[in-house]
Symmetry: C2
Subunit: 487 residues, 2 copies
């Protein structure tokens, strides 16, 4: 039987024919301003003199190796040997490498086999074990390799957990405001509810119990079940590092209401002031001291990534999550979900094993590795401080001291004229500011509305990754002109 | 404000508290039989003499490098230089590499920058261009790099398209039976409908128009909109290669009903008999000859992967999709969706660029690369034939000649006693057969019910990847015993 080729063929799809959850989802980090920047970049290639600046300065995304950050040599040497194990057989080549590089590569190859083979969906057992060892050292409490899942960046882990906990529109996810837009986007994709809780900007973006309880009780009153609580520490976009008492508040709420905690701890190495304390460590302390078993049912996933820290290996897409306190029937479902995607990139799993177990003092690669890490850390720390100082010198701008992560999230008190001009352009005032900044200086940032902000406050997220300080000076000049123009 | 630590803490989640779509989803390739095999593998390590076989033979998954397939040297040399570009600066090392390896690595580094940086969400433009060139050569019709999206394996591309087209439970996806379970799993995750159409086993698993129309009209009568039609060519698990007339039938249906085509063409290099013709090529031919514009609205995505073919680089997670005939507003939504996951692994994008542009005759790496490809091809082709012959010699077994992919999908007419024993064990007859096969020989396969099969027919999917022929002999002996026992 053949179908007669006659009649009117069916029309093509338009966006309105697509999954409405996808239409709703927003992702500002690669949204309007970065898209405009990409156009300008192409224009500069075609016609270099046509704009008031020579290049685009990408301060919109935490992508260190797009800018001047070099990869750590130790990592890359081991990865090269994993990609081409025949190099290990070649004496001339292998003599060019420090012996610990070769040893590590052999160890990983023994454990993994070819990086071209699918691994277990949960990850290579050797890598899971390395991660568990790292977490045990970090927290002083044991970690079980069976609870570790390797993922393609932490984003994939976030997606797994949010998908797993989504039971339709009556499901609520508490997310900090400001937040990383992956969360609102993934919640929108699941047609569930974001339940925004505001961080306290005036107290270095700390967490208030009363705010968490307000949000939870409001949600319950509206028939929405708060099933999960997201915390980002160190903060994106805030650059804040949570103190222990903020973490205790989260855990109290999780214990009382049974909200699963997603602890997005991908910036745990990026701490310039204060100290990173993992949510799991505080949980274990509370469990150890509270004899009533009040915290025994707390369930959480802690996420980490090769993309941030001192590694900055974003393009490799490495990440893990550690599950804590999960029932085995829940783990079975998660394992099935991950198995549908087969496995995370195996080379990125190997990279993760290096990240959690870098060269130790006395090993041949240690000195260089240590120097390189110090340089990355110092560069980030210095630029964070320079940027922070610059913002606080600008008229109408206030910025919390960036203690961690890769971002400043300054607040802008804009003049009346800017509101009018923004309205005329059909933009919110913060987007208007970012667009003017881009068009006049080439600096690409993301407006606060992409992350959420308290009503009637306006922010901009900038990374402190672009090299040098010239661009900070351009920003200062732009800002002074902007304030003058729109006063 | 602090929360009083009193009262009963909230209970933990059970699987019944999770997303019901995840509970429903099944993924047999890593399901019951492979899970049992993993247990046995661990038992063999602890107690090698405790089972009637010495090792597990993984014929359940198309994972060539887990078995004896070696990675192609050219690929891995280039990837090693991309992971550690400092090697290019080292004269001693660089002299060990053929010059085209070094040139290619430099070219990719120029185009990509560090493989540790996020790329554009759609992929590195240079890689998109290489793929478009490949498709243009393959089909004789132009391909536009703007229509290429790099993904983490083809699985991620499948997920993007199915997510995009899912508008709740009234959405239908036509899937071939048997199918690769990624499709039913992803459809279940979206709470949409799989609309199974049966392939014609007796005619080498060809496609019937009447079957497609029956399924579509039935769905429409039930209020389900058939929005998408999946075709897997070469077939998984069937090993079939579609003839042009089967593809024309698909396109006729797509034109008439406006069903988006997912052309899963990841096995396009694995063709041992017949010829691979891409769905896009047939579409372009029809569009060129039909002057009425009947095919002008056909929309499709063609998927490819670094995991299969002669590359077998599963663990690297490389893939692409080419969009054809899509409205720009739809592409905008897809771009947003991909941007939420940031980008595919950049090293796997580079690998994809090598796969679509291997060394050419006359280039220094050509001879070795060509020999290695020939060996992989011949090994696959020989084992396919050996397995096919073995099955057709077994009592009650019939198997179509595997023309492509990496699988045989023989049909088993099982004796009455097997049905009774299966019922007693609470298993379907095919799962019972696979479990006995595993327990007695260590051969791990997947039962036909994991892929779907015509009612009252029973199949087993086996890859033809495990090396040697011993395992095929074990299977023969097992089968003869099984038939005797359950006659």
């Amino acid at each position: 039987m053949t179908l007669p080729r006659s009649g009117v063929p069916a029309p093509k799809l338009f966006d309105t024919d697509l999954n409405p959850n996808i239409l709703k989802a927003k992702y500002a980090v690669r949204g309007r301003i970065p898209a405009k920047a990409e156009e300008l970049r192409k224009q500069l290639i075609k016609d270099p003199g046509s704009l008031p600046f020579k290049k685009i300065i990408n301060a919109n995304i935490g992508n260190p190796q797009q800018l001047d950050q070099k990869p750590l040599t130790f990592y890359r040497r081991v990865l090269a040997l994993l990609e081409d194990p025949e190099l290990i057989e070649n004496e001339e080549i292998v003599n060019c490498f420090p012996s610990d590089v070769v040893l590590r590569a052999k160890k990983i190859l023994d454990a993994t086999g070819s990086v071209g083979a699918y691994s277990h969906s949960q990850g290579v057992p050797y890598v899971c074990q390395s991660i568990a060892n790292y977490i045990s050292r970090r927290d002083g409490y044991p970690s079980n390799p069976e609870d570790i899942f390797l993922t393609a960046g932490a984003s994939t882990a976030v997606k797994y957990i949010i998908d797993l906990l989504s039971l339709g529109p009556k499901t609520g996810f508490l997310i900090p405001i400001p937040q990383y837009p992956l969360y609102t986007a993934t919640i929108a994709l699941n047609n569930t509810h974001a339940l925004p809780y505001y961080l306290n900007e005036d107290d270095d973006w700390s967490i208030d119990s009363s705010e968490l309880i307000r949000v939870i009780e409001d949600a319950i009153a509206q028939g929405i079940k708060p099933r999960c609580l997201v915390v980002i520490n160190p903060g994106n976009p805030t650059g804040a590092v949570l103190k222990k008492d903020s973490i205790v508040k989260l855990l109290d709420v999780a214990a009382k209401y049974g909200t699963f905690i997603i602890a997005d701890e991908v910036y745990q190495e990026n701490v310039y002031k204060g100290e990173f304390i993992s949510v799991k460590k505080v949980l274990r302390e509370l469990q150890a001291t509270d004899k009533t078993g009040y915290y025994d049912n707390v369930q959480m996933a802690s996420l980490h990534s090769t993309s941030k820290g001192l590694s900055g290996e974003c393009g490799q897409r490495g990440g893990y999550m550690e599950l804590v306190g999960i029932n085995s029937s829940v783990k079975t479902q998660l394992t099935k979900l991950t198995s549908i995607s087969l496995c995370g990139p195996v080379i990125s799993q190997a990279l993760m094993s290096l990240m959690v177990n870098p060269p130790k003092p006395g090993e041949p690669s240690y000195e260089l590795d240590h120097q390189q890490r110090q340089k990355v850390f110092n560069d980030l720390s210095t630029r964070a401080h320079t940027l922070y100082t610059a913002f606080n010198e600008m008229e109408g701008v206030s910025c919390r001291n960036p203690m961690g992560a890769m971002y400043c999230f300054p607040r802008f008190d804009l003049p009346g004229g800017a509101f009018k001009a923004a309205e005329k352009a059909g933009l919110s005032p913060d987007v208007f500011y970012c667009e003017r900044l881009l068009l006049e200086t080439g600096i690409c940032t993301v407006a606060g509305s992409g992350f959420g902000q308290a009503p009637e406050t306006w922010h901009v997220r900038t990374t402190f990754l672009p090299p040098g300080t010239d661009w900070i000076n351009y920003w200062k000049v732009f800002h002074a002109d902007f304030m003058k123009k729109y006063r």
